[in-house]
Amino acid sequence: MMRKKFLYVTVFILIAAAVLGGMSLSARTADAGMAGTYNTKENVKIVQKKLKDLGYYKTAVDGIFGSGTTAAVKNFQKTKGLTADGVVGAKTIAALGVKLNAASASAGAGNLSNADLNLLAKAIHAEARGEPYTGQVAVGAVILNRVKSSKFPNTISGVIYQPYAFTAVADGQINLTPGDSAKKAAQDALNGWDPTNGCLYYYNPATATSKWIFGLTVTLKIGRHNFCLSD
């Protein structure tokens, strides 16, 4: 008798797990974190400290919005009857009763250059984080050269997200957090440093599969990449 019950329970648990697993695949979760212009380390620390004082957050006030912080925010939101999505936006900030500073200092400029800088850094990190520093700046410069070229999209995001232009964008590495080297390289590239002197193409001869790109004249090599001026 006991054995049969055990069997039913096991089967029930398995089916429930499968259904929940299937549901979670289609469930939409917004990325947890600080909303838009509040996304600075100082602001995260303020939020963490308040959550700690209120008893929701137990670990270190380190300015890093990780899983512990996300859980604490969600619990707080649930208690306050807000949407428990882990995103600290205007409503959550008001409920916490904290004062946060917006990240950009300039009034209403939209801070285009910061967004471009961050995206460029992500692309450099994705495509060239194993390369020497000059190679990273070179990758950034190629992207900016493409923006200036009539044959490519006219924005940094257009160039980076052009389908199949960059393998590391296609396979999702673009979503990794860029390291310090990539950020510095992006800044240098935006300031005009171009070790390739105008190149529009680069490839790794050991891994590239496009016959077309091997037909281009190589202007210079840095690290594992060959850089080509034009087609």
Partner: protein
């Protein structure tokens, strides 16, 4: 008795597991199908937008050919410019290989850019000449051919033909080519040729040929001598070794070097002709800042004077980030800042060492013995051309770069209005307002856009 129960139990367990696996797989499949459909919809939207925009540009170009007044011309040009750039963006979102669409992108970008330059011409009080009108007709012919091809491709989509099903995967799993890509390749091959587009704009074909005025006529210097020059330039930075890596051969040939130094390595590019340091770069770690921006500018000017042999460079802009100051230096001649000959120098704010040099603008734009022309307007007359809303604090002369490689002699006004800081350029020969730049004051320093 026991065996029968155990087999029964195993069977039920197995069935439960199989059901669980099936449910998980079903969830995956449903989600994948959703994503695929959304992607196909995005592709189709871009394709239909492209077709519509190209068709509109065709019609607008014919209107331009028939327009009788400057007002109509300008309005039509406005539309063509906007729709061309939209169309270029549309095609850039389609799953095509670069070589299948680059010529079409170029055509669309140049059409928009060119009509924009014609619009500027009309705004300056000029009229379209015969050459302009012929170009408009050539562009129209090309546009018509492209439109016909796109319409043909659109007919395919009517019958439930899906774009994402007609793209190939190559061995590395990267998509591109296939029937969809072939259609666009054909469109490029069959396209009507249009002449070299030489005009005043960022996408002009005139910019393809680059000149390097500073070193054009200089003798070629072998790499060993170039290496000696590097030791002089980076003297005092703790250099222990200079290693020649090879040459870069583009439109400007350079010697490439890796320089080992105490605090971190440098990568150095010297022009083959004249051994000019066109790029120096170091990624050495930088400690806590001890030097302020003023001192960094002074150090950069000193470096340009003593090590680069550039006698009259003055700091015109400073940008601070990551413990480093990036200073833009421009030659000051007869009180004018020559922005077409910029040299950028990076100074580490912990010890004042030079960690970067970027001199391509200088190498391309430097004119030996440059003379600043006499201005046709006085400062007072130029000041009248600046908007009276602005509160002007500072005036000086400048040579500024314009699209298409042109140089313009202008008065530079530093001004503010409400919370915003501006730099306004008034042409010193014609009085035209050449450019307005807005200064974004960030925590890192001052940067112009």
């Amino acid at each position: 008795m026991k065996t029968k129960r155990m087999t029964y139990r195993s069977a039920v367990l197995f069935a439960a597991l199989a059901l669980a696996a099936a449910l998980v797989a079903a969830a995956f499949i449903v989600k994948a199908a959703d994503t695929q459909r959304a992607l196909e919809n995005a592709y189709q939207k871009s394709f239909y937008d492209l077709t519509a925009n190209v068709g509109n540009i065709d019609v607008k170009l014919t209107k331009l050919m028939a327009a009788g007044s400057a007002e109509t011309e300008k309005n039509v040009m406005d539309d063509i410019c906007r729709q061309s750039h939209l169309a270029a963006d549309n095609i850039s979102q389609l799953p095509l290989k670069h070589e299948e669409m680059s010529e079409t992108v170029r055509f669309l970008n140049q059409t928009g850019d060119y009509t924009h330059s014609l619009c500027k011409k009309l705004n300056a009080g000029q009229t379209l000449n015969d050459e302009d009108r012929q170009r408009i007709e050539d562009l129209r012919a090309r546009c018509g051919a492209a439109g016909a091809e796109l319409t043909r491709m659109a007919e395919r989509l009517q019958g439930g033909w899906r774009i994402s099903e007609h793209i190939d995967r190559d061995q590395a799993g990267r998509i591109g080519g296939g029937e969809f890509g072939d259609g666009f390749s054909d469109m490029q091959k069959q396209s009507v040729d249009y002449p070299k587009m030489i005009y005043d704009g960022p996408f002009s074909d005139a910019l393809e040929k680059k000149t390097y005025k500073a070193v054009e006529n200089a003798p070629e210097i072998p790499q060993e001598q170039a290496a000696d020059k590097i030791r002089h330039i980076l003297g005092g930075m703790g250099v222990t070794d200079v290693k020649f890596l090879g040459n870069a051969n583009g439109d400007m040939n350079t010697h490439e070097f890796e320089v080992t130094a105490d605090k971190g390595n440098y990568y150095v590019q010297m022009t083959v002709k004249g051994a000019f340091p066109v790029m120096i770069q170091s990624n050495r770690p930088v400690g806590a800042s001890k030097i302020d921006a003023e001192e960094a500018i002074r150090l950069a000017e000193k470096f340009a004077f003593e090590k680069l042999d550039l006698r009259n460079m003055r700091g015109v802009w400073v940008n601070l980030f990551g413990g480093t100051a990036c200073i833009n230096l421009a030659p000051e001649i007869d009180g004018a800042a020559v922005y077409t000959e910029l040299v950028k120098v990076k100074v580490a704010l912990d010890d004042g060492q030079i960690t970067g040099v970027e001199a391509r603008a200088y190498v391309r734009g430097h004119v030996e013995g440059r003379k600043i022309p006499a201005a046709a307007l006085t400062e007072g007359e130029a000041l009248k051309k600046v908007s009276n809303k602005l509160d002007v604090s500072h005036i000086r002369k400048a040579i500024i770069p314009k699209d298409g490689g042109r140089e313009v002699f202008a008065y530079e006004f530093w001004a503010s209005y409400k919370d915003f800081d501006y730099i306004v350029y008034i042409n010193a020969e014609t009085g035209a307002e050449e450019d307005i730049l807005r200064v974004i004051d960030k925590n890192q320093g001052n940067m112009i856009i």
